[in-house]
Assembly symmetry: C3
Homo-oligomer: 360 residues x 3
């Protein structure tokens, strides 16, 4: 099957990787932001349903805490001792589920997983209200992903423990957006200041369809919390979906102060961008749909030397592996950072902030 | 999607709930029963297959231990350290599985879950005897739920670690019955005495079908262990199933000293009862069947002021949410208490009793 | 359902079993082999893909470490604290999965399970390379079983954490072969020496089909690492599969110094063997196939008094339960030992060897 030299080569591996993937950067962000636990206190009795809930000061402190975890991954192994997470993925997922479960394990907590909706009481006709009341008795925190937009809002009516929305239908995916913004700040910690000089603002392209993709919907909302970071945010698409925004979605973002536009002239614009966010897959019901299959980033794409690429993953052909070993690749750092962002958020939600924050 | 004020309201929650749900009551039971670990010793080399195995003294001590856990939920986090539970739910369940897994986690143990019968060796034709021998090597305790009545009895032939029956076909569900009785004793700790004055005995109605529902079968059996608590136990049904008892089932209960009767005059009787136990769903094979869809408890039902309602959950229309905020609602306390009852039982089965009992 | 005396009998169990199953023997192996941690160092940056990777000195030390764990099962409960295992069983399994998960739990680590390939990004078209990069961020070690031979080799291209092959298609199952050889050495610790007197070498029969069964393929390879143990290894089959070896497979084994032959004269040969290894089930794709249904070992089979039987389990009719209570039964010891062999290997792979080895 596998001849001997090939086997020897396959069987040995290196643990370290070159820092082309931006692994040194959490420390830079850690130094830039002054710790202030006051802004984390409101999280102790909140559910995380929508990106709309956050304010920039809380986000800044969550990112600092995430950077603290990412800079010292071995140090914080006990903050969630004795706490139980109910990991409820009624809509299938491996990546997001493992990201949350890894975060919870790293902090010393215990986990119960539900990965098959058909085994639940819901299949017996049980109301989500009753499911929430059940969860109150069994765990300390819930992470929920479901095909339906509304399940989450039904469940919170009875929940007395915090729940994080890990993706509700086409609506939102708040922690993914947090991970995306965290990555940008790891790359450019100076953007975490309250004021950013015009010359230093970044121009960001988002290749995606805001009214079809919860990742993009949440991303634009989180950008609207920190509009001073951006000279412009441009939604880029191929014109095959029309319209790309929900009614009122674009106005809402602009009213928050975000300079957001849309275009189909993707090829022309990409070389001018500082950050290119690309995503092509959206889950609709039981299946996934690929949008905009004609837009692809490859080794041949013209990019600014300093430009970075973000992708929530899983990826298909729209983001070529030719870019993996280039300095543009910040999507792996994005996936890595997502665990630490979730560690920060989960710690605050279950009231263990005082175990990890010095100034509180 | 969700407008901003609605979001603010949905996103904030309270951790405490008013004690209309009977949460203060474990302490009353704890004071009433004197601790005596001798009665727990027989559990150290027993499987929990049927409610028939228990005697009232062991039950009383298990309930006292459960009440100790429920009164001090944070105190006992290490008794099961180093112990592994094999959580085998060959018949789907979320509620019972999470209840057991939460109990085991709360006590510091580790868990391996099997939630899909088709991934097991049984699908390869492996005997349950061999599955039991396998479990001996991998864990310290098994919890099993299966569609077949007999799987459990096949498996115990080779098991050298304890197993708990979490529901075997239509036969039994012993720990659910324990949770039900525990709830009654939390509500009325005086009933835990060996003698109960006639004027204080309770009149209990069980809305269900004993020969179709393992929850009801086990419940009546556990009542028959403590017949002195009851002035009468009445099985109430709508007459659509006939007969409602298996051959010999009723005689067996009466021989144990339980004053048990049946009736179809449900509406007339309900206002006279101290405890109303209601259940309508039974799992038969791969699907569930609803029994007695005409019998419903709602906000309009005439109940004694002091009457309490029990339901093993999940519920459908037979128990209206209108009752949730009334003092009759002891079904949420019942679900909550089930975790602590299981904690008590599991601790004793894996020989860790000495870590939680003072007098042993 | 179950009458009372039968219940009493079913409900009580013994924890100990008579040592007909070879449980005392780890200590003999422990005494025989001198500890030398140097031979375990190469494991700290290796994937375990194929049995071909091992050399006899590393195997000897792994078996000594396994024997140390098996002799003192309660002692080593913390070596893997803080380490996360990704248990990825894309091809269904309960036995092997629980064996690995039990091993990891026993050493104090945490686990995330993937038991349904359809929930993974692979179902979205994600490459195995990207899955590997994802695993780098979420865990410290991967165990993978998949229907395809090649998935493993695709995944290692990006992995920077160790992976163990728990069965790849028809190709290999290295840790099963390790468990099999470990069992032989527990039975005959003298065979662990570098030299074995001709009179003491063992004659081993392998009832199985090497080119269809990954367990047999890996077993023959591991025998070829220690050819000095065997006077002869005979592959025994019923002639219904032809050929039974892949092209070059037999030559490769013989070139390594293993005296290996094949025969269909099974009945004649069995009474002359010291070790009989039997397996009849092979998983091909989504279903299993039984090979050689005419070859069976039963209580009537003529065996040398001192002969031992091995079987990777799950078993069907080919190995009768009549043999379970005889001294020939080493297949239960084999299953038990597999957990400790995996504990030894996992500890070394995640660089925690210094926590369990004295001489390193």
């Amino acid at each position: 099957m596998v001849i001997e030299d090939e086997l020897k080569e396959a069987a040995v591996f290196e643990r370290r990787k070159p820092d082309v993937f931006g692994d040194a950067h959490p420390k830079a962000l850690l130094r830039k932001v002054v710790e202030n636990g006051d802004y984390l206190k409101p999280l102790s009795n909140q559910h995380i349903l929508s990106t709309d809930q956050f304010d920039k000061n809380t986000l800044r402190q969550l990112f600092r805490l995430a950077a603290k975890f990412e800079s010292n991954p071995e140090r914080f192994s006990t903050p969630l001792q004795g706490k139980i997470l109910i990991s409820a993925f009624y809509e299938p997922s491996t990546r997001t589920r493992l990201s949350f479960e890894s975060a919870w394990h790293r902090l010393g907590g215990d986990i119960m997983s539900i990965t098959d909706r058909s085994t639940t009481g819901i299949a017996k006709g049980e109301s989500l209200y009753d499911v929430g009341e059940m969860f109150n008795n069994y765990g300390d925190c819930v992470v929920l992903r479901d095909r339906s937009d509304q399940s989450l809002y039904e469940m919170v009516k009875s929940l007395r423990i915090p729940i994080i929305n890990a993706g509700n239908g086409v609506d939102e995916h708040p922690t993914q957006a947090m991970a995306d913004l965290y990555t940008i700040l790891k790359w450019r910690p100076d953007l975490s200041s309250s004021k950013v000089d015009d010359k230093l603002k970044i121009r960001v392209g988002v290749i995606g369809v805001p009214n079809q993709m919860r990742t993009v919907r949440s991303l634009l909302k989180i950008f609207a919390k920190v509009p001073h970071m951006f000279s412009e945010v441009i939604v880029m698409h191929d014109g095959s979906t029309d319209p790309v925004f929900d009614k009122g979605q674009l106005e809402h973002l602009r009213n928050a102060g975000l300079n957001v536009n849309e275009t189909t002239k993707v090829k022309k614009l990409v070389p001018e961008l500082d950050v290119i966010y690309i995503n092509s897959i959206a889950w609709i019901g039981d299946t996934y749909t690929s949008f905009q299959e004609k837009i692809r980033l490859t080794g041949k794409s013209k990019l600014k030397d300093s430009a970075i690429i973000l992708h929530p993953l899983a990826r298909g052909d729209e983001l070529s592996t030719e870019l993996d070993e280039t300095p543009h690749n910040w999507y792996f750092s994005q996936a890595r950072g997502a665990v630490f962002v979730r560690m920060a958020l989960l710690t605050c939600l279950v009231q263990r902030t005082e175990r990890v924050i010095d100034v509180i």
